[in-house]
């Protein structure tokens, strides 16, 4: 393949690039070094003007602060520049392809940002009288309706704050349902390929976690699972599509078996993007599933959140949903909180957060969902799956794809690093991709594959982007196969070279300290 890059000139692979001299400032034209606020700010500077405070007798109970806090201030110009410079040291979807498997890094429409910032949503207090927030409650109710309908479930708990929090909600609902029938079970089953939050959640909720074996094709081993079911098993946690990118064909049968054994089925819905509009988890017997609004429904990931993890629930688990929730009585929206729950919802397992969940994410997600509609969401799943399969099939000749024969992949393509030159691994490929202008795929997850590389393109990438990426990954892999030493020291063009994570962990420096006074003038 003789792909030329899109800008119309053909890069010459063998010319060394730009070897300009080091600079006095340490900057490199548009790539600017930036010190910490503690190094550039002062306690006397502020970027905020305040009205004068008239003098009054203090009522602070003799607890006036005397010690300095130690907070540096910056003027507004310095502040804007500081964070602008920092931002430019980040990769992001807005910049380019970000195929981080399991993370569904899709385009974040700016309409959603605009909607979320309408004063009617952004500037209302969670404890206002419900008569004054009917529009906000309507948003929650409408979104809930979409989520229930898209998943074919009975109810939805809107308050969980992210996927892992949603898992906790689901597992607590399971535990509450078991408790309600006086059935104290102690084990949750969970595949080894599961995301770390699954076992962590189960343990947090007081369960022992046991492994579900997998088949060689990368799916749950139905027979082995069935064999393990019994009166101690509270439930199973299954990811579908799973973290190897495969649809769990047997999920309906698994659900039936688990139910027959008195347990419940939790489905990790992080990968719902692959099937939205094509499959309803409710039809597969799922009892609870969280939906990462920050994945499938495109609320921005923000460099690590906030997210939102509503949990859809089956008829069996719905009675145990947490408070508060929104209900509708004719044209009037109600907020069911502790005081009113008694009448409506006495079996709730309790409360997960102070207020009503991630309102700012609900507006965004609903805006996204309405924009796509039922037809568009189905197209989302189809294009996401199409893009992933295109990557899988375009690269399986150079990269080992351990489950290539297990059928089409869903939203993500999984590769291993078998076959690289001695000493070269997934890490080197990832760092090589950084130089090429990409965010690397998810690496070393799932744990079941050697040097896993999990590539999730999502539906918001064009074919041209995929083609360029395929070419670039192919080129990097070829360098890894021949043991190109320059790959071993990649990235070369990023704001930093490889960072020393061992040193960071050995003697953690988690906050800034004033440097020791220099011993004497130099």
């Amino acid at each position: 393949m003789n792909t030329i890059n899109q800008s119309g000139w053909k890069p010459e692979m063998h010319t060394a690039s730009n070897t300009g001299p080091a600079t006095y400032t340490g900057n490199k034209a548009l790539m600017l070094e930036e010190a910490l606020i503690f190094e550039i700010g002062t306690s006397g500077t502020t970027g905020v003007d305040l009205a004068d405070a008239p003098k009054v007798a203090s009522r602070l109970g003799n607890l006036e602060r005397h010690r300095d806090i130690g907070l540096p201030g910056l003027s507004e110009p310095e502040t804007v520049r500081h964070y602008t410079r920092l931002s430019r040291q980040n990769y992001a979807i807005d910049l380019g392809f970000f195929p981080l498997g399991s993370c569904t890094m899709k385009h974040n429409p700016r309409l959603n940002e605009k909607v979320a910032r309408m004063a009617g949503f952004a500037d209302i207090h969670p404890l206002q009288p419900v008569e004054t927030v009917q529009g906000a409650l309507a948003v929650i109710h409408e979104l809930a309706h979409w989520l229930i309908t898209l998943t074919g479930m009975k109810a939805v708990a809107m308050s969980p704050k992210a996927g892992a929090h949603g898992e906790l909600c689901g597992i607590l609902a399971i535990r509450a349902a078991l408790t309600a029938r006086g059935d104290a079970r102690s084990v949750i089953l969970c595949p080894e390929s599961a995301h770390g939050t699954n076992p962590a959640t189960a343990a947090f909720a007081g369960y022992a976690v046991e492994n579900i074996p997998a088949t060689s094709e990368g799916r749950v081993d139905l027979a082995a699972l069935k064999a393990r079911l019994g009166p101690d098993v509270a439930g199973v946690m299954i990811t579908n599509p799973n973290t190897c990118g495969l649809f769990e064909r047997d999920l309906r049968e698994i659900s039936d078996a688990v139910h027959a054994a008195g347990g419940y089925v939790y489905c990790d819905g992080a990968n719902f993007n692959a099937i939205v509009g094509r499959v309803r988890p409710g039809d597969l017997g799922v009892d609870a599933m969280h939906i990462n609004l920050h994945k499938t429904f495109s609320t921005p990931h923000g460099g690590g959140g906030p997210g939102s993890g509503p949990v859809v629930l089956s008829e069996a688990l719905a009675p145990y949903a947490p408070l508060p929730f929104v209900d509708k009585d004719g044209d009037h929206y109600l907020l069911v909180e502790e005081e009113t729950a008694g009448e409506h919802h006495e079996s709730t397992f309790g409360r997960m957060v102070a207020f009503h969940g991630q309102m700012g994410m609900f507006t965004r997600a609903l805006s996204y969902i309405m924009s796509h509609g039922a037809d568009g969401l189905r197209q989302v799943a189809e294009d996401a799956v199409l893009n992933a399969n295109y990557i899988l099939r375009s690269l399986e000749d150079v990269l080992e794809a351990p489950f290539a024969d297990s059928g089409p992949c869903m939203h993500e393509a999984l590769f291993s690093d078998n076959g690289m030159a001695e000493g070269f691994s997934t890490l080197d490929i990832a760092k090589g991709l950084i130089d090429e202008g990409y965010h690397p795929m998810t690496v070393y997850f799932p744990l079941v594959v050697h040097g896993a590389m999990l590539v999730e393109p999502t539906e918001t990438e064009s074919k041209a982007t995929l083609d360029q990426f395929i070419g670039a990954l192919r080129s990097v892999v070829e360098r890894a196969k021949v043991g190109d030493p320059s790959l071993k020291s990649a990235p070369h063009h990023a704001p930093r070279r490889r960072l020393d994570e061992t040193q960071a962990a050995r003697k953690p420096v988690l906050v800034w300290h004033e440097p020791e006074q220099a011993v004497a003038a130099e």
Binding site: R65, Y83, A119, P126, K161, F204, A354, M361, S462
Partner: protein, 452 residues
């Protein structure tokens, strides 16, 4: 569809490369009975941007906003003026549309910001270290209780009656499953807190005492006595701060001996947003760092010796430690942490202290004005920007009546403690820099009229 770049001919070409006849071929692993044959019925199809925007602006207009009405709600969420540059910065695509910084070489922006945030939070709380954020104050609070349990290997937590009742509910919910026992009580409508109760309750079984500062009624008290008693019995003091602006005026909990300080960061940078997303703050003493939940950003160097930052100590976390992790948290509240940090950078020491002074002053003046209304009494002897009034009648209907007068006039204790008759005349009033003296007048006049 405007968000989908593939054209019909792209799709055809790609199916060809894959070797599939149609898109349905890629869904063969879905059992036939579970396959939907077309867009789900009963749901609308795609809509133009204009149509969606209109739908939302119609709904938004049905809400009464804090900025267009006299506004006095607090009780865990505060309205402060957020400089426009904060929102500008958090909308930079490089912050907004980045993931958690797993590839540090191209995520130094997020990482350095988190390092700065951690330092700001630690200093504000008077602690050694802080993490990179939790979901919100309430979940930070129960994670702290869990952490205290891990550290002390004990399971009895004593909760102050001044702790936000929703935080208590969250902790109670979790305690059902973790086997912790919680010693809780309802607050009283009085100037005195229940610190005596707390001190009495601490014993050799106690993992921690949890005290909110300022508390749900706005009261402020010295935590040193509680800290001393707790430490004496090998227990930890957890302080909970729901209004960080207060710490511009009053001592940090860490100064008074708190071992873990958690809080809700919403009041700086984040805004009200009907309750979320918010940002949980989490700080503690250095020696407890390996028991902390959540992400931590640490300093290191790159291969050329340049300073850089990475996520660190991840052996505490779910993706490495799985069922042995200190928490199941993964996605946290990064962008809100950024908003918090930017706002605090703009304020700086000087601005935060000035803002705190202004809040306190306005609250003192408002308290004076409101207690001029016949039969309205001030419960607090101390407060920062929030205080509790005792009304001559049940407060909850009064709040609704105030809303009819276009005044958002505080949070009734009836809303927070449904069924607690002794509290039902209590009204919690927060006064920040956004309240003008006309707002206070309007509020006072309406309240007087309603009570008359």
């Amino acid at each position: 569809m405007r968000y989908l770049p593939l054209t019909p001919s792209d799709r055809q070409a790609m199916l060809g490369v894959i070797g599939a006849n149609s898109i349905d071929d890629l869904f063969v692993d879905v059992p036939v009975q579970a396959q939907l044959d077309g867009p789900i019925r009963g749901l609308p199809n795609h809509a133009s941007e204009m149509a969606v925007e209109r739908h939302f602006s119609n709904l938004a207009r049905r809400n009464m906003t804090a900025s267009h009405n006299p506004f006095f709600l607090g009780a865990g969420a505060y309205k402060h003026h957020v400089p426009a540059s904060v929102d500008h910065i958090i909308q930079r695509g490089e912050f907004l549309t980045a993931y958690t910084p797993y590839q540090p070489e191209i995520a130094q922006g997020t990482l350095q910001m988190l390092f700065e945030f951690q330092t700001q939070v630690a200093r504000l709380f008077g602690c050694d270290v802080a993490n990179a954020s939790m979901y919100d104050g309430s979940t930070a609070c129960w994670e702290a209780i869990g952490m205290a349990g891990r550290i002390t290997k004990r399971s009895k937590a004593v909760l102050s009656s001044g702790l936000h009742p929703h935080y208590v509910s969250v902790a109670k919910t979790m305690a059902q499953y973790t086997g912790d026992t919680l010693d809780t009580a309802l607050p009283e409508l009085s100037a005195a807190t229940d610190s005596a109760r707390l001190i009495n309750a601490i014993d050799g079984e106690t993992s921690c005492v949890v005290v909110q500062y300022p508390d749900i009624l706005g009261r402020i008290e010295d935590l040193s006595g509680i800290a001393a008693k707790a430490h004496e019995h090998g227990a930890l003091l957890i302080a909970v701060v729901t209004e960080p602006v207060a710490l511009g005026a009053i001592k940090a909990p860490g100064e008074m001996g708190a071992d873990i300080v958690v809080g809700e960061g919403q009041s700086l940078g984040v805004g009200l947003q009907f309750g979320g997303p918010y940002v949980g703050l989490f700080a503690c003493k250095e020696k407890f760092v390996r028991q902390m939940p959540g992400r931590l950003c640490g300093e290191t160097v790159d291969a050329e010796g340049k300073r850089g930052f990475v996520l660190t100590l991840s052996t505490r976390e779910q993706h490495i430690r799985r069922e042995k992790a200190t928490s199941n948290i993964c996605t946290n509240s990064g962008l809100c942490a950024l908003a918090f940090s930017v706002h605090l950078t703009l304020l700086g020491e000087k601005g935060l202290r000035g803002l705190a002074r202004l809040n306190h002053t306005l609250a003192v003046q408002a308290a004076e004005r409101l207690t001029k209304i016949p039969d309205v009494e001030l419960v607090n002897s101390s407060f920062f920007n929030e205080f509790t009034l005792k009304l001559p009648k049940e407060a909850r209907p009064v709040v609704r009546a105030l809303a009819d007068h276009k005044v958002l006039g505080g949070v009734s204790l009836g809303r927070l403690y449904p069924g607690a008759d002794a509290l039902s005349n209590g009204l919690v009033v927060a006064v920040t820099e956004v309240a003008t003296s006309e707002d206070v007048e309007t509020f006072a006049a309406a309240l007087q009229e309603i009570l008359a």
